[in-house]
Symmetry: C2
Subunit: 292 residues, 2 copies
């Protein structure tokens, strides 16, 4: 089976062709320009690929409600040209195949549950911590949409006692994204996160915020796996620090062996590595091909 | 159809018989004693009722994993006699009918989605704020179980700037339950919450904590309805205050008409009133009868 996958990001689009084992056989990447030009590039790429279905994991916010007149649109994004753009229907006009459609982070969570770190599990929460913080939620074998879709990057966290940074979120100031995404690191420490040493106090504060959000996600959703991806999580020293924060915050309350005894296997990096996004779109396409 | 319903609480058990319209035709209530005596009372009640299925919404923590050897048990509760008690199998031995089994709060959320304030919706989050804080989570038409089950009453919240109360949660001190459940109100203000005047500053602080938790739940799960029940929420003045806190915390970020324009219909009291728990168990029983 040949399935198309589109990781539609605000900075770049990655398109690929893969199979039902989650293997990407071909891929291409181009910068996100105006929507007309960008979709033209996407369509040109898939023109001769003979795919049986296409999955799209998109930056957002997007409309996921099949009964809505704006279903398949990118909606209120500040990204120039993209607000209220009918991304899905533009692609559907070009290719008469089944389409899967979800947020980039839900797609990544689904991809991880299909082939990655949460393989075989019916729930996981996927965080991407990079230029922003995105959260994909997969519970009881379904991607969570609800009213719009989860925006868990903006949950409110308690302030670290030694941190007086105001935060960079234009909506909330010091929400999780405002305190812990890449731009917050850079503004707080005056250098890019990737230039900070592994023992810099920045990481203690970073783990404090992420660990707190993850603990609340565990309490709220009881997921079977927590997956932390994105550029900031390339700082591997963060993992043990975040796990320690989670344990401190839960304080033994959630009586699950996975957390109490095996947290190293519970809070993990993406099994699909930096392919999580594209493989997620592939998983959406595969599900669409199978009529799910 | 005659369906049995058991609201298994830590303080009292409520048993009833109802039909597929959610109408409770008969009910009885007795204090929760040692498990053997309590289940004996339950079995005696249903002996001659001729029910076709029974739903149980239970206090917890409980085991919801059908593949677990402890499925159907009340697990690590501090309640004397009840830790590791096989509640479900004890009832199943007495009645050869299909059983539904979930947490009391998930059951209430499901009952509200079946006949109450979230009728016809495929998601809602149900809070009960009383002697503790419990949270039931219903997403994409399913009750969320995951690793154990949600324990959203214990999420961490920011401290109100004028509140120096330490909190009463034995695990977390100042988590949501530690700061906002009935015992926290009583310990902070030295009188029962029900004796405080409606314009007492206690309610400003109460709404601050609940509104914060609800805002984070909206960001994490994007539910189609938020339902606030339990003894503390009999203080109806809290509703507009909580809605205002939620709007303040979200600050327009979640672009959903239900929140931006119609929050009075979005954050509501249980449509089933104080029957939410028993009707929830009834809904579980009905689903079991229908083989769901």
């Amino acid at each position: 089976m040949r399935i198309g996958a589109i990781e539609a990001g605000g900075t770049k689009f990655v398109c690929g062709v893969g199979n039902e084992e989650g293997i990407i056989e071909d891929r291409v990447s181009f910068p996100t320009e105006q929507p007309e030009q960008t979709t033209k590039n996407v369509i040109a790429y898939f023109q001769d690929k003979g795919v049986e279905a296409i999955g799209v994991g998109s930056f957002g916010p997007i409309d996921l409600d099949p009964t809505s007149p704006l279903y398949g649109y990118v909606t209120t994004t500040p990204k120039p040209g993209w607000a209220n753009y009918p991304l899905l229907s533009t692609l559907k006009e070009a290719f008469d195949v089944p389409f899967g459609w979800d947020t980039d982070v839900n797609a990544a969570a689904f991809g991880e549950a299909t082939w990655g770190a949460a393989k075989g599990l019916d729930s996981c929460v996927y965080y991407t911590i990079g230029t922003g913080v995105g959260v994909g939620v997969y519970t009881e074998g379904k991607m969570v949409h609800g009213l719009v879709h989860p925006e868990g990057g903006h949950v409110l966290t308690r302030r670290h006692p030694e941190d007086d940074f105001a935060g960079v979120c234009p909506y909330h100031g010091d929400c999780l994204e405002g305190m812990a995404a890449g731009p917050a690191l850079e503004k707080r420490w005056k250098v890019k996160g990737s230039e900070l040493t592994v023992d810099h106090p920045a990481w203690t504060i970073e783990a404090f915020y992420i660990g707190q959000a993850v603990a609340s996600a565990i309490l709220m959703l009881s997921p079977k796996k927590i997956i932390l991806g994105g550029g900031v999580m390339h700082q591997e020293q963060l993992f043990p620090m975040i796990r320690a924060e989670v344990k401190k915050n839960l304080n033994g309350y959630v009586s699950a062996k996975a957390i109490l005894e095996d947290i190293d296997s519970y809070i993990v990096s993406p099994g699909l590595g930096d392919n999580a996004g594209l493989c997620g779109a592939l998983a959406l396409g595969l599900a669409a091909a199978q009529g799910k």
